[in-house]
Each structure stands twice: as C-alpha cells, then as structure tokens.
C-alpha cells in the first residue's frame, strides 16, 4: 500500500461517554493544504490536538512520513501548531517569541538569529522585532504566530481557525498570503475551520466532519458540486433541498417526482436505486434561472411568487414561494446596471434549471 505523507488509521477519541472523534481514516499528501471543515463540536479541533500530541487517541494510529506518532510527546513531534488565540507569550518580544522554538533545539545563537530574521521577512514582520505582542494589531499577531510555528520547519503545520480573529477585509488578504507562504515553504498544512469560505479558498482538499466522523473528502469543487450526502449538500453553501421518489431510471438519466414541485426533476446521469425509492434532490440557488414566461420543457421547472428580494451588489437573492407553499432561494448575478424591472416583489415568476444542476442522493 503506498504510504501517504500524513496517515490516520481508524483514529478514535473518547472522553468518558462522549465520542469526539469516531473511527477517522484519512491521508494527506506532502505539500497539501488540507482543511477539516465542520460545525463547532464536530471533533475537528480534537483531531488537531491528537496530531499535535495534546491528546492521545483512544484507538487507531497516526503516522507522519511513515513514523508512528503514538509514543512521541508533543515537544518532540515534527509538528507545529498555530493556535486559534495565537497564544503568543505576552512577556516576550516578537523576536523572543519566534526564537523560543529554535532555542529548544541545540542551535548556535547566530543560526537562531538568522532563521528568525528569515521567517520574519517572509511574514513581513521584521520591522516589529522588538515589539511585545500587546503592541501589535490582530493581523500582525497572526503573522507572528505563523512565523513562530513555521520557523521550526515542521513536517506538518496545524492551523486552528487561522483567520477566525481577523476582520473581513484582512481575512481575504491574509488567505491568499497564507497560500503564498505555504507554497514558498512547501510545508504541509492541516487547517481546522468552521468557515466554509475560508476552507474553499485555502484548501487543496476538504474533509467535512460531522459528529466526530469524516463524511466526505474531496476538492472544494467536488464538495460543492457533488456532495455525497444530504448533510454535506446542506452544510456547504446554501441549497434548496426537496424530497421525492424515483419514477424513471435509465442508464443516462433519471426522473424524480417531488410533491413540492409541479414538474418532474430530470437529472442527466443514472443512479443505482430501486424503483420508486425515496430520494433527496439539491439545487443550488445560483443554478436556478428566473423567467417571467412559462417554460416549454416538461421537466425542471416550477412556478411561484417573489416574496423577498435582497440586493447584495454583485448578487441579488430572490426568495420565491412556490405554488405548493414551499420557499426557494434563487440568486442572480447583477451583470447589467439596469434594474431588472420584471422581477419585483409579489410578481409571478417561473423557475428553471439544467438537467446537469441537481444533485441526487438516497434518503
């Protein structure tokens, strides 16, 4: 079996009766940015702490580069962590904070000085060498925390909600910078976050976690466009979910009848399900087209009344109440500066989507 760089084999962690991490197996390749994405309390932080060595797994194995981490205490692991609170030592200057990790290895003081300078150049914090953490802004502290973790040249860098404490503008900027630094140094990142936008921009691959289990692993596009479970479809982005039954099943298409929709849903690929099986259908809001005229197709349409319109600048979000009473979200890109006069509140509207748009799964 080919060995991945980081390998988790059936890892579980129980606290008394509570199972925080349940039988997780995972492999991460060298140089990846792997994001663990999940709501709070789903076990992602516990998984990170298992990797850092602050918790010991109840069962299972953790391997980095083929080396079993089980008996290695946190202070000898080739792993460093950037804490959510940054955990900068308040009584030490930026320089001393960053040098702290290197001082624990037997390095000459000139070597320590050189490497501290080098990493502070990369995170652009060299001018703040002598400052104490309380004299820095949130973004600057984040950089120091990153530099402190990276200066040890770890095989694996763990980041706990790395952008959580930053404001929105700074986050967007920092996200891309983080990717730059990662590519420059080639360190493997494992990021924990509850923010899907953060996961989408940072990650090469995402592992979605729920109740201590990894429910799906894939690239951001795979996770978004091809969610394998209803939980993932619902958790990532916003989505319109319908329940229905399989009415026609061919090798290259299926038709699903949903009680909340006037027409059948046509999907352009086959699935393996028994006839009449209960299914769920997910259609993303941005894949729904609005029109004021009725559709010619027998499938993939619905009719309703616009209840709310939210103008967000680049997008407009429409909340449409279907004839069945069900509310559906649709988003429209504002490509033109002219207002779309025909879509106003309480006006009648036809919704439609392509056969390639819906995601289908069994209940």
């Amino acid at each position: 079996m080919p060995q991945s760089y980081l390998q988790l084999e059936n890892v579980s962690k129980r606290f008394d009766d509570f199972v925080a991490v349940n039988n997780v197996s995972l492999s991460v390749e060298r140089g990846e940015i792997f994001c663990l994405l999940g709501a709070s309390g789903c076990g992602k932080t516990t998984l990170l702490r298992l990797l850092a060595g602050f918790e010991a797994p109840s069962s299972g194995r953790l391997l980095i580069d083929g080396q079993d981490l089980a008996l290695i205490p946190p202070y000898r692991r080739p792993v460093n962590m950037m804490f959510q609170s940054y955990a900068l030592f308040p009584h030490m200057s930026v320089e001393r904070n960053v040098a702290f990790g290197l001082e624990q290895e037997s390095l000459s003081s000139s070597e320590i000085k050189r490497r501290v300078g080098e990493i502070l150049d990369i995170v652009k914090m060299r001018p703040y060498l002598k400052r104490k953490p309380h004299q820095l802004s949130g973004g600057q502290r984040q950089r120091v925390a990153l530099a402190r973790a990276l200066v040890k040249r770890p095989k694996l860098l763990l980041l706990d909600e790395p952008l959580g404490a930053l404001d929105r503008k700074l986050r967007e900027h920092t996200q891309f910078e983080l990717i730059n630094i990662q590519q420059q140094l080639g360190v493997t990142f494992v990021v924990v976050t509850h923010d899907q936008e953060e996961a989408m921009t940072l990650a090469t691959r995402i592992g979605v976690m729920d109740h201590g289990e990894i429910v799906q692993v894939g690239t951001p596009r795979q996770i978004y466009e091809f969610p394998q479970t209803r939980f993932v479809a619902d958790f990532i982005g916003s989505v319109n979910l319908f329940e229905g039954n399989l009415v026609e099943d061919e090798p290259d298409f299926v038709r699903v009848q949903c009680p909340e929709l006037p027409a059948t849903v046509l999907i352009d690929h086959g699935i393996s399900a028994p006839p009449n099986a209960p299914l769920w259908i997910a259609v993303r809001p941005e894949k729904i087209n609005l029109s004021s005229v009725a559709q010619q197709h027998p499938d993939n349409w619905a009719h309703g009344v616009i209840r709310e319109i939210a103008y967000l600048g680049d997008w407009s979000v429409f909340l449409v109440r279907l004839d069945s009473g069900r509310e559906v979200r649709a988003t429209v890109a504002n490509n033109s500066r002219k207002p779309e006069e025909q879509f106003v509140r309480d006006s009648s509207v036809y919704l439609s989507w392509d056969a390639s748009s819906p995601v289908v799964g069994s209940v």
């Binding site: 850092a52 602050f54 946190p74 609170s85 955990a87 309380h134 004299q135 502290r141």
Partner: protein
C-alpha cells in the same frame, strides 16, 4: 441635599480615619516622649530619640527582631513553594481523588481559630518528638513549620486564583515548540504567575512577622520572636521603648505594604493588558 452631603461625607471620612489611625498616631507621638511614664507628656525634654537609642542597645530586642526576620523569610519562602504546589493541584489536576479534602485542608487554616491551630501544632510536635525524636525541643524549627502551615493556605488561594485566569494554550504552545515540561514551567508559567507568588511571599512574611498566638504555643526557651517580646514587656507595664519599637514596626510594614502595592498594581495592570491583547480578546 448636596449641601448636606458635602458636610456629611467628609465628617464620616474623618471619623473613619480617626478610628483607624488615632491609636497608632498616639503611639508614634509618645515614642518621642522623654518621660519614663507613658501616660505623662514631658513637655520640657520632648521630643527625644532616647528610646530609639535604647532599643538598639537592647540585646533582647535586637535578638528577637533578628529571629523574627529569619523566621519570616524562611516561612515566606517555604509557604510560597508548598502553597504554589497546592494551588497547582487545585487549579490544574481536574477532579482527582481527594481533591475535595485537599481544598478543605488548604482553606481550613484561614478560618480555624489561631489558638486551636497553635494548640494542635504543639501536641503534634510533642508527639513527634516522643515518636521519632524530631523536632528536638521547640524553637526556630517548630515556629517556622507552624507559620508555614497556615501561610501556605493564603499562597495556595492566591496562586489558584491566578491559575484559573491563565490561558493554558500558552503552555501548550511552548510544549508544541519543543520545550520540555520543566522548561515550559520555568520560562512561561513562572514568569506569568510571578506577581501572585510575590504577593503570596509578602503576605506570608507579614503573617509570620506579627504572629503571637501560634508562636506562643510552639516556641521554646530562648526562641522568643519580636511580637512575643513586646507582648511580655507590655504585660509588665507599657514602657516607652515599646512605643518606639512599635513605631519602627509600623513604619517598616507601611513602607513594605505601600511599595509592594504600587509595584504589584503596575505590574499586574501591565500583565493583564499584555495577556488580553496577546489573546486578541
């Protein structure tokens, strides 16, 4: 309304301060009195420093002061070490077996009457001497042990409170960066709880410096602490040199208290600010 309050508040304040400080002031004034009779003010020869001079020539008092100082320092140091351990156990080790008992035992000396603490310690020392021959007789050792036994409770409470507000991710970060647990303690934990340790040390020093009751029980012949000497002198009638001695002690304590309060306040404020800012809260 405001007019009445403008009179009332200063009056209350004046009474309050008078209640607290007039006795001490009287004592300070009389320490400069030339008369041998404490209650009679000799306006012809006063003020004088002769009682202060006598004080420094009295072997008994100087010996007692030196003994008290030694005991207070040993007590403060011992209490900080043991009290810190107890504080750590209570704040950090979660729900271990006997945690409740330890908590009760560390807080007991805070509420136990001194006379009972003193008596029980005396009984313990006597029994120990009969059983294992240590501590042989009563003196500096027994007084120091007795003082540590109640001072450490105060230190434990202070350290515990400090640790409860301590962000453990700082220690985890240090571990993660390759520091062994001992290094983490010396370079991260200790500097950050240092103000608590210092105030614990000063408090223990003061508790020991002015303790009479417990010392009385566990002291032996030739090991009279300064408060014990004062107490025995006063029983024979207040002499003016006691006033001088007491004035010096008040001065020492006042300077110590004010200095440490100022230092701790500024340091505490700075640390709290650094901690808050560093954690981005």
């Amino acid at each position: 309304m405001t007019g009445r309050r403008a009179v009332l508040l200063p009056t209350i304040l004046a009474f309050g301060f008078a209640f607290l400080y007039v006795p001490i002031l009287t004592m300070v004034v009389y320490s400069f009195n030339a008369s041998r009779l404490v209650t009679v003010w000799d306006s012809v020869h006063s003020p004088t420093l002769k009682w202060y001079g006598q004080l420094f020539q009295s072997g008994q008092i100087m010996d007692a002061a030196w003994l008290s100082l030694k005991i207070a320092v040993m007590n403060a140091t011992g209490a900080v070490i043991l009290g810190t351990m107890a504080g750590f156990a209570l704040a950090r080790f979660g729900r271990f077996r006997g945690r409740g008992l330890l908590g009760a035992l560390t807080t007991a000396p805070l509420v136990l009457p001194e006379i009972i603490t003193g008596l029980s310690l005396l009984l313990l020392f006597v029994a120990l001497e009969q059983l294992i021959g240590w501590p042989a007789g009563r003196g500096v050792t027994t007084i120091t042990i007795a003082h540590i036994s109640f001072s450490l409770s105060y230190v434990a409470v202070i350290v515990q409170a400090r640790l409860v507000g301590f962000d453990e991710s700082l220690e985890e970060a240090a571990l993660d960066l390759g520091a062994r647990p001992a290094t983490v303690f010396l370079r991260i934990t200790l500097p950050l709880i240092a103000p608590a340790l210092l105030s614990g040390w000063l408090l223990s020093f003061t508790l020991s410096w002015d303790d009479v009751v417990i010392s009385q029980f566990v002291a032996g012949p030739g090991s009279s602490t300064l408060p014990m000497v004062i107490f025995s002198k006063v029983r024979l009638g207040v002499s003016p040199d006691v006033n001088a001695l007491a004035t010096l002690m008040v001065l020492l304590v006042a300077v110590g208290v004010v200095a440490s309060a100022l230092y701790l306040q500024s340091r505490e404020r700075r640390l709290a600010r650094e901690m808050r800012m560093a954690l981005g809260a």
